[in-house]
């Protein structure tokens, strides 16, 4: 038996689970110190869990925050906010309400639409908190707030083709500050942009779209910030997560670390900073 505080390493294979004992003083894995038990109900993979016992007493990465105030902490006036969602599906409505409450103003918001009715993004605009909106489709079923502000010259608009918005966010997350695309060539979108012929076709240069803050809706999340999305709820969420300095997530379900299959995590936690559990929010009518 190894003396001192022990750490265990857990291997699942077939029908058995082997706990490997690790001496915390030497931090050495010693194959002689192993204990094999019946399989735990965990995922069907060979996984390694390294944890100090007792679990409750150790520090851990935990991106799950306990309140909306914690989720929204530190969002500054003048921030660029990337907002995921398409229609009302995969749209982080609770977080948008949280941002309304939080008070940051002079915001630039990038989203597919420019809000609908008098709630969510439309409400944020109506409160005069949005300086500029970057979107592909400012119209919606009820775009009255945007249109009123826009006609009054109280909000700036940058129209971007939908694929170009998505690719600009992805580029921001991937270390690509600018890229060429054929979308928009020969249109108003190309005015003032660098043109280049490559292999006989004309392209324009588009810049990465970085977020100071990204608001995301997930289906499941764990304490490392790993996310899954449900069906069409995925949409812009993964690229918003990649592109934003601080990515804030509302999730319908919080799951244990290891409950998500490593092959099927849609957004790995490296792109996520804060996760708030909002146990409702199936898309409604729109």
């Amino acid at each position: 038996m190894v003396s001192g505080l022990l750490t265990e390493t857990l291997w699942g294979r077939g029908d058995e689970t082997t706990y490997q004992i690790v001496d915390i003083n030497t931090n050495q894995y010693n194959s002689a110190n192993r204990l094999t038990l019946a399989r735990s109900p965990s995922p069907a993979l060979n996984l390694c869990v390294r944890k100090r016992l007792p679990e409750g007493t150790r520090r851990m990465i935990n991106k799950i925050v306990q309140s909306m105030a914690d989720a929204m902490a530190g969002i500054k006036d003048g921030s660029t906010v990337l907002l995921a969602g398409f229609g009302s599906v995969g749209q982080p409505n609770a977080l948008i309400d949280g941002l309304i409450e939080q008070g940051a103003k002079d915001l630039t918001v990038a989203a597919n639409n420019a809000g609908s009715g008098h709630v969510g993004l439309a409400r944020l605009m109506e409160l005069g908190r949005v300086r500029k909106i970057i979107c592909s489709f400012p119209r919606s079923s009820d775009p009255v707030v945007f249109e009123t502000l826009y006609r009054a010259g109280q909000i700036e608009l940058e129209i971007v083709p939908q694929g170009t918005i998505a690719e600009r966010m992805r580029a921001a997350g991937a270390g690509v500050p600018a890229f060429f695309t054929a979308t928009g060539v020969g249109t108003k979108m190309a005015v003032g942009k660098e043109h280049r012929e490559i292999d006989g076709r004309t392209y324009i240069l588009e810049n990465a779209l970085y977020g100071d803050v990204g608001l995301v809706e997930a289906w499941e999340a764990d304490r490392w910030g790993n996310l899954t999305y449900k069906l069409a709820g995925r949409n812009f969420n993964p690229v918003v997560s990649m592109a934003s300095k601080t990515t804030i997530v509302q999730t319908q379900h919080v799951v244990g670390l290891g409950d998500l299959h490593p092959d099927n995590i849609h957004t790995p936690g490296i792109f996520v900073d804060r996760v708030l559990h909002i146990p409702y929010g199936d898309p409604g009518s729109f």
Binding site: G87, F137, V160, T164, E167, V185, K188, N235, P283
Partner: protein, 218 residues
């Protein structure tokens, strides 16, 4: 033959004609409006895979009202179903399919199509204060083929097939075929080539309703 004797195609017939021309196995994106109807008229012995910009590949028909999955909508924000074999991806990957030239076909509506293949379908004026482009420019520039379904003329009778679009362009030189309520036309190096006309319509009458010069094959 007088003008009144021919019978224009209706919306369903316009969609049917396009649907019939889609071969099995194509990946197809359908725009809002009449193009959406195309999905319902693909011959049932053909598998065609429909794409929607919001990350849906393998879209099925609309669900029954009591079987709606609220997490499944298309780019037009209508409830849809997913066929077996359907898959979900994120927006950048979905537009990689479009912009990377992986769609065999996109079918869009339009305000105008020029005889060099230019399309205008997103804004009705250079001064439109807040035009909504959505994915139209990506689709028009990115798909392997762009077909347009639209009325041949506006309500006041002006031709929508033109020598030069007066509305703001969506993309240049990309329309390959146009299905109107009067005719089916290919866009060729010579300009619009008439492949077929509504029953009873003569080429002379069709040309009278068309700004751009029409050609016949051969």
């Amino acid at each position: 033959m007088s003008d009144s004797e021919f019978k224009p195609f209706n919306r369903v017939q316009m969609a049917q004609r396009a649907a019939t021309d889609i071969p099995e196995g194509w990946y197809v994106n359908l725009g809002i409006g009449i193009p959406t109807l195309v999905a319902d008229h693909v011959p049932l012995d053909r598998e065609v895979i429909f794409h929607s910009e919001n990350g849906i590949l393998g879209m099925g028909p609309a669900p029954a009202k009591d079987a709606i999955e609220p997490w499944l909508i298309n780019a037009g924000k209508q409830y849809i179903t997913l066929r077996s074999g359907g898959s979900i991806c994120h927006h950048a990957d979905s537009f990689a399919m479009i912009r990377g030239g992986h769609l065999d076909l996109c079918v869009l509506g339009a305000f105008q199509v020029a005889d060099n293949g230019d399309i205008a379908n997103w804004a009705t004026s250079e001064n439109d204060t807040a035009p909504a482009v959505g994915g139209a420019m990506d689709l028009a520039a990115g798909a392997k083929r762009l077909w347009v379904i639209m009325d041949h003329t506006t309500k006041d009778g002006s031709s929508k097939l033109v020598t030069k679009c007066s509305y703001p362009l969506t993309a240049e030189s990309c329309v390959k075929r146009v299905y109107t309520n009067l005719a089916t036309l290919d866009v060729t190096e010579r300009g619009f080539m008439v492949l077929g006309m509504a029953p009873g319509l003569t080429l002379e009458n069709l040309q009278a309703r068309t700004d751009a010069k029409l050609h016949l094959p051969g």
